[in-house]
Subunit: 420 residues, 2 copies
């Protein structure tokens, strides 16, 4: 039986006492930003808990990491500090612990209704890397862009392919996304067409938030890599497929991606996800020694994408996928990233790439779902090849426990018309 | 005739009163970092000048931008502030101005011998973008990697191709570079070879340092783009060609680049470079309207690469190139970067890509100079296909004025053996 909090957590809530995801919020529009954890319909203000002296473990008792406007200082402290914080908070919020439960003054200051707060980016993001770790996605994209002969490039099965994305344009869930303009592929001898993207897409991803990281020149061993991952967020790596298709050879995606990337406000820790760990897919060929890990695991996280078409009241579920479909694990991604000595810093983001499953109804982007616009999707009596102005896309992700959930909440964004 | 400073500037110095490049330094190992400008063999400590109340123009008199550990706050202020600072400093350093010249106490505090200071990264770099703007380089690389049929991809002449690089591993000149390890291209059905890179290269680049930048969703017009560029640095975008060749399809370079990128400590402002502006190459086909600028200019900056082979005392000049060989201008790069709404922030870096000229002795990397190792270079009685452990690579760049130089100093790094 799951342990309980004195705070009511409804059965369908993502934010049970087993979760306690971290975010950064402002209780009032003019307040300073501070860290919090979600519990039921509330945010627990960690700056108030710290000021009350309740982080009294050996690592955190003298730390000011909860008095910062982002989580980077907590991330830098590493897993022992994260475990200590989790133990402190689970105890403080439990139904059998009087410290907060029976202190009306502190409850008043420290528990803020979720509906009243403004969530902001929880981390200062130094570098954002995007991987390409779903085999189904790689195969579908390769087929669409390069044809059905050898859709997956030979390197894909030997290393977790990745590229650097744009950190500046990462925004928090709820931020509108302006339709980007750019060049598309020319027909014949005409100049390239220019204008608002006609193939605007979402990409269903998750992203790992990096903890302590490493010094330049010192790779992280794959079997220690989990200690450098604080947790996961939902991520929508919006893509303009027409811009991408024209620009990406030979140096990779650039403007087709950099106009915006949305992350969920709540970071669910690896400790909270641990009960939902599952075996990663068998890898064939066997990875090189630096990628061969003793325990190779994924997490069973149910993912869902809804679109609320412009002008409609109701959303429509268009795909259901799962984090466990990824071929390359988070720890392999991180070890590969540092094998050349590249340094990761606290707050860096490692996107998984689009998480497509094997079935047609588990594909993680419209490029795949509509096969590059050839098979429009039906939704609520209308159809979509790609996103239209006013469409709102919402991702949800959660793990189902025994009588409780460990969830990510939502990651959403609405398309605004081009400004050009 | 050039105006003079009361500080001696030797005829071959890069740091005349016409230059005044900005850097960040520590006068003593335990001092705090502060901004400075180079003049002759000295650094002028701008924190001391600010504390003495000598930045007395309307924009800067109440600013604390010179009391920061990096230049980002100055960059955010924009060109009017930069012009005001330049006018203040040129007056203060001129031979006819008594304020600093005749104040022994202030001179003692504010003028520090260049040889005694530690230079550090002058900016906090949010995002680093690397372009691919030399036609000669694009043609040579395309021929080497993909063969002589259509070595330049069709998109290249329509847009300034770029990708996002790694910001965390940008280091200041003088930092050693550890040889990276990684996977290379397999032969036949063997697994990919793994180990220290056998094709370690330099890339002769320069990089623009972004000033105010733009909000997400608001592109910068190409004719206003120069107002968003503070200045230029020399940049060595070290590359592991074997790692790059195996990993880069389809998402672009990643670990082949992210192990280290070196920049020069001094940022030469666009205002100092203005006398050396020259026409950019004619572009055919004519660029799309958003890239068609009223004035299309490059700068006549002589560039040189020297290698000091491991175990030798003397350096050997191996190539001479010039910034003016770039096909796409800095302002076109910046306008293209933002046309999709991508936001640039103060301190972002836009690399030019390798600056190769048309002649065999003006190629900007060993990949081209040795044609991927097929034609070893002779230097000081030894030969090189690619860089060996202990090799030291030094870039120099300067503009020759009438009786003075506007130079960048040097950008150097030495290769250390792999740690794996």
């Amino acid at each position: 039986m799951a342990s309980q909090s004195f705070i009511e957590v409804k059965p369908d809530s993502h934010f049970s006492i087993h979760n306690l995801p971290y975010g950064v919020f402002k209780p009032q529009p003019d307040s300073s930003a501070r860290p919090g954890v979600a519990i039921g319909d509330y945010v627990l203000d960690l700056s108030e808990i710290a000021k009350a002296g309740l982080f009294n473990g050996p690592i955190l008792k003298d730390s000011d990491c909860f008095l910062q406007p982002n989580l980077n200082k907590l991330l830098a402290l590493g897993r022992p500090a994260w475990k200590e914080a989790r133990a402190t908070l689970q105890k403080l919020l439990s139904s059998t612990e009087a410290t907060l439960r029976d202190n009306a003054n502190l409850r008043q200051k420290a528990l803020v209704p979720l509906g009243k707060v403004e969530m902001i980016l929880p981390i200062a993001i130094g570098d954002y890397t995007d991987f390409f770790s779903s085999m189904h996605h790689a195969k579908n994209c390769g087929t669409i862009f390069r044809g059905p002969q050898n859709p997956i490039t030979p390197n894909w099965f030997h290393l977790p392919i990745a590229y650097h994305g744009r950190a500046s344009s990462i925004v928090i869930s709820g931020t509108d996304i302006i339709r980007p303009s750019g060049q598309g592929h020319p027909s014949g001898n005409s100049p390239p067409p220019f204008g608002p993207s006609q193939k605007l897409d979402f990409e269903l991803e998750m992203a790992a938030v990096v903890g302590p990281g490493n010094e330049l020149g010192k790779p992280i061993d794959v079997n220690q890599a989990a200690d450098h991952i604080f947790g996961l967020v939902l991520m929508n790596d919006w893509s303009a497929r027409d811009i991408q298709a024209w620009e990406y050879v030979p140096l990779g995606p650039f403007l087709g991606k950099s106009f915006g990337t949305t992350i969920s406000p709540w970071i669910v820790t690896l400790d909270a996800l641990e009960p939902f760990a599952c075996d990663a897919p068998k890898q064939d060929p066997h990875p090189l020694p630096y990628l061969a890990e003793k325990i190779s695991k994924n997490y069973d996280i149910s993912l869902e994408v809804q679109i609320k078409p412009a002008g409609q009241q109701d959303s429509c579920v268009i795909t259901k996928s799962n984090f466990k479909h990824l071929y390359w694990t988070l720890t392999q991604q991180l070890a590969h990233h540092t094998i050349n000595g590249c340094n990761l810093r606290p707050g860096d983001i490692l996107g998984t790439g689009t998480i497509s499953g094997p079935e047609p109804e588990s594909l993680g982007c419209l490029l795949e779902l509509t096969w590059n616009g050839q098979k429009p999707l039906s939704l609520n009596g209308t159809t979509r090849k790609f996103l239209e102005d006013g469409d709102e896309v919402t991702f949800t992700g959660f793990c189902k426990g025994n009588g409780y959930n460990v969830g990510f909440g939502t990651c959403s964004g609405k398309i605004l018309p081009s400004v050009l």
